[in-house]
């Protein structure tokens, strides 16, 4: 089987992290975002993956070559010279996707969930029509495009209602699909939207079904959602009883704590809930961490207090510093001792020596 991952552009919404690494390589739950997807696809029997990108960072090729070897799969780049929307990239990658007659997966690189590719393929095969969209239940459907089914049919889609005023349903497009190769005949090589053009046409022909996603789902394309998505992912690991999580240590507080084995934790810390600590991170004594992500090689000095914050690679947080309210530190940022940062987005290689009292971008 084959898959296409829509990566797109530079991931500007996830800056300042994406000033250093392309978004698919940013670690989510101590694992690069793209690796979560590649693992799940490979496990479902996918052998060929196309990354639809509109730039080609060398750093990505290096990592992907590694994954090709690791999983015994082929990964190719499909590079748009002009933006082709969400459907155009499929046409551009037609050669790979039409390699054989099996259906192919399409997924948005920003989405995190418990990827259900195997069940999705089985469901798709069972209904026999051209396409299946993964849908997820949301609390406030009025903010999204909602899916409405045919009367008396559990999965065949009747229509899409964009930002419904009145309740028509609570299932939305989760940004993951499985499509027959025949769908490629419906797409022209031009900037075109799969949601606005391809899917409505398939719906008119009664060829599109929905598949309910179990568990969590989040678009983690921006820092606030990246943190929320991390909480959901960690809760999911807890629910599964994952061995990845750290338990039984005196400093663990409230659970959902993922600590890389190479990280060092000082004495009298209180860590959790919902904390991810990357490789070679050093956490000093008396540190309080909650709802935060410490990326590789970062350092948190004694008595610091961190909440709702992403600490970038190689960054240092000073003693008695306090970071909160979706603060994001880019690569190699230094926060001075006793400094307070409230919702600061700090670009790489900056040193912060005065309080950031209100949310601000520190260039």
């Amino acid at each position: 089987m084959k898959a296409l991952i829509l990566v797109g552009g530079f991931g500007t919404r996830l800056r300042p992290l994406t000033l250093t690494l392309p978004k698919p390589l940013v670690e989510f739950g101590n694992k690069r975002m793209i690796l979560h997807q590649i693992e799940a696809l490979a496990a479902a029997g996918v052998t060929d993956i196309v990354l639809a990108v509109n730039y080609r960072p060398e750093v990505m090729e290096k990592h992907l070559a590694e994954y090709e070897k690791q999983f015994g799969i082929n990964i190719t780049f499909s590079i748009e010279t002009e933006p082709l929307g969400t459907a155009g990239p499929l046409k551009l990658a037609e050669k790979v996707l039409r390699k054989d007659d099996t259906p192919f997966f399409v997924l948005n690189s920003d989405v995190t969930c418990d990827y259900p590719f195997e069940q999705l393929a089985a469901f798709h095969k069972a209904h026999g029509d051209e396409g299946t969209i993964v849908v997820t239940k949301v609390e406030e459907p009025s903010k999204y495009g909602v899916i409405v089914h045919k009367p008396n049919h559990p999965s065949r889609i009747d229509r899409f209602v964009e930002k419904p005023v009145e309740f028509v349903g609570n299932r939305i497009n989760a940004g993951m699909y499985i499509l027959n190769t025949s769908v490629l005949d419906r797409i022209e090589l031009r900037p075109t939207s799969i949601e606005q053009e391809t899917f409505p046409a398939m719906v008119r022909d009664g060829q599109l079904h929905s598949f309910d996603l179990e568990g969590f789902w989040m678009d983690v394309g921006q820092p606030k959602d990246f943190l929320t998505g991390t909480c959901l992912y960690l809760s999911h690991l807890t629910k599964k009883g994952s061995k990845l999580l750290t338990t039984g240590k005196p400093y663990i507080y409230g659970g959902n704590v993922l600590i890389d084995p190479t990280a060092k934790i000082g004495e009298n810390c209180r860590i959790g809930p919902n904390v991810t600590i990357g490789p070679n991170v050093v956490v000093g004594d008396g540190v309080r961490l909650q709802r935060c992500v410490l990326l590789e090689n970062s350092k948190v000095k004694d008595h610091a207090w961190i909440k709702s914050t992403i600490v970038g690679w190689n960054s240092t947080v000073g003693r008695w510093a306090r970071l909160e309210n979706v603060t994001v530190l880019g690569d190699d940022v230094t926060i001075g001792d006793e400094i307070y940062v409230n919702g600061g987005s700090v670009l790489p290689h900056k040193s912060i020596k005065a309080n950031v009292d209100v949310p601000a971008i520190i260039m």
Partner: protein, 444 residues
């Protein structure tokens, strides 16, 4: 070998006798020092480990010719009883008495009211110190100038920024002779950046007659036109007079600053001693933090034995009361005072702050530019924070997002800050529990 007895006026007829008066005001006047003055009268508030007024006495004690010290104010007698008892033991060479005004008489009015007590023993000179200033009180230097110039009055002056000057009494002096040529209290326009420090030395022969003539002038003049009207501030002076109508119509209220000094500049041999050392007013509660810092720095320069020994976790100057308990992993300083029986937990950081009696700071908390009130508790990983004000500034408020807020965070008596809670630029009245983050507020 005979013992050298310090020369005191009483025991040595050669040395002219000097007396000192400390003006302490009263509780109804200490409102700007709230919320701290709700529980302790401002003169008795501890900075650098001692009551504000104690720092005045220390300076007075260094003048060999002073024996009698009068504390004049309109607090009840009981307020100063314990302090005077303790101070009498600590300063055995001084005789300290509290003289209570039963009504506010003004700074000069109070002096005049108690003239018989003050003039008893015919002192030649009288020092008058306002208790709400923090400075090095160079009294001996003032006395030296007084004698050299054969003066009738010497005022302590200091230079401030031009912008700040109009908040104080401004002095124009002859740059060579240092004689005071002109004195204006809080002028509308810029007059001089040499300001009145609230510390004076008068000859007895000049002071009381001056007050008497001011009282006479007052009686002769219609109350409403008391001020110094000039063509461009007529309207303003009228309003001011109107505002103060009640006190103005009261014959007893005579203030040194408004009513005496200007007149002395015209009629007396009046000089200014300009100090280059530190000087601050202690008006608002927040001003206790810079005052604490300045007195601690002074104690540090004088190698005071009272201060905590510097170490990796003690950045001098730091005062820790002998009965306080500070965990060795806590990092303190600079400019920190820890009061009696206060406890400071492991991994705590305290900088530029005053922690008062019986307060508790739990582990890993951070206290910066703040005052932690008596018996108050700061939770683990909490952050209580004010904002530093420039050393040259005489303000204790700052503008944040267009709103004036207190620079120093103050917790009144028995307040509580929950674990991990952040309190920034707040003033918290006594007995409040802060369970959520707060910033830029007064918490009633």
């Amino acid at each position: 070998m005979s013992l050298q007895i310090p020369h005191r006026g009483k025991t040595n007829g050669v040395s002219p006798s000097t007396k000192a008066v400390i003006l302490v005001g009263g509780s109804s006047r200490g409102t700007r020092f709230r919320p701290l003055s709700l529980d302790v009268p401002k003169p008795l508030f501890d900075v650098a480990g001692h009551p504000i007024i104690w720092h005045c006495l220390t300076a007075i004690d260094k003048v060999p010719t002073i024996q009698d010290v009068y504390v004049i104010g309109y607090y009840e007698e009981s307020v100063f009883r314990d302090f005077i008892k303790d101070a009498s033991t600590e300063f055995p060479n001084l005789s300290i008495k509290y003289l209570r005004e039963y009504q506010a008489l003004g700074t000069a009015g109070g002096l005049y009211h108690f003239r018989d007590a003050i003039l008893k023993g015919s002192p030649q000179h009288i020092f008058v110190l306002n208790s709400d200033v923090c400075c090095s009180f160079p009294l001996n230097e003032m006395l030296k100038m007084f004698r050299e110039k054969d003066a009738e009055a010497v005022i302590l002056g200091t230079r401030v920024s031009e912008e700040a000057a109009s908040n104080f009494g401004c002095i124009v002096s002859d740059p060579h002779t240092r004689r005071v040529l002109h004195y204006v209290e809080k002028p509308e326009s810029y007059i001089s950046n040499l300001i009145n420090c609230g510390v004076y030395l008068f000859s007895s022969d000049a002071l009381f007659p001056s007050i008497r003539s001011a009282m006479k002038r007052r009686a002769d003049r219609p109350a409403r036109l008391y001020s110094y009207p000039s063509s461009d501030n007529l309207e303003n002076s009228f309003i001011q007079t109107n505002d103060d109508d009640e006190s103005r119509s009261n014959d007893g209220v005579i203030r040194l600053e408004q009513d005496i000094l200007s007149d002395m500049a015209d009629n007396k041999t009046f000089f200014v001693y300009e100090t280059k050392d530190f000087w601050r007013q202690i008006k608002t509660a927040g001003s206790a933090v810079p005052a604490n810092a300045l007195y601690l720095q002074k104690a540090w320069q004088n190698n005071s034995e009272e201060l905590a020994k510097p170490s990796a976790n003690i950045i001098p100057p730091v005062f820790i009361h002998p009965t306080a308990h500070v965990d060795p992993t806590a990092k303190l300083g600079p400019n920190v005072s820890i009061g009696p029986r206060a406890t400071v937990g492991a991994g705590v950081r305290i900088k530029e702050s005053i922690v008062l009696e019986d307060a508790e700071i739990k582990h890993d908390a951070c206290v910066l530019y703040s005052i932690i009130g008596w018996n108050s508790r700061v939770g683990a990983w909490a952050r209580v924070e004010g904002t530093p004000v420039p050393v040259t500034s005489h303000q204790t408020s700052i503008i944040k997002n267009g709103v004036k807020v207190q620079a120093i965070t103050i917790l009144g008596k028995e307040c509580g800050v929950g674990d991990e809670v952040r309190v920034q630029n707040c003033v918290c009245l006594p007995f409040k529990e802060l369970k959520r983050d707060v910033a830029n507020e007064v918490i009633m």
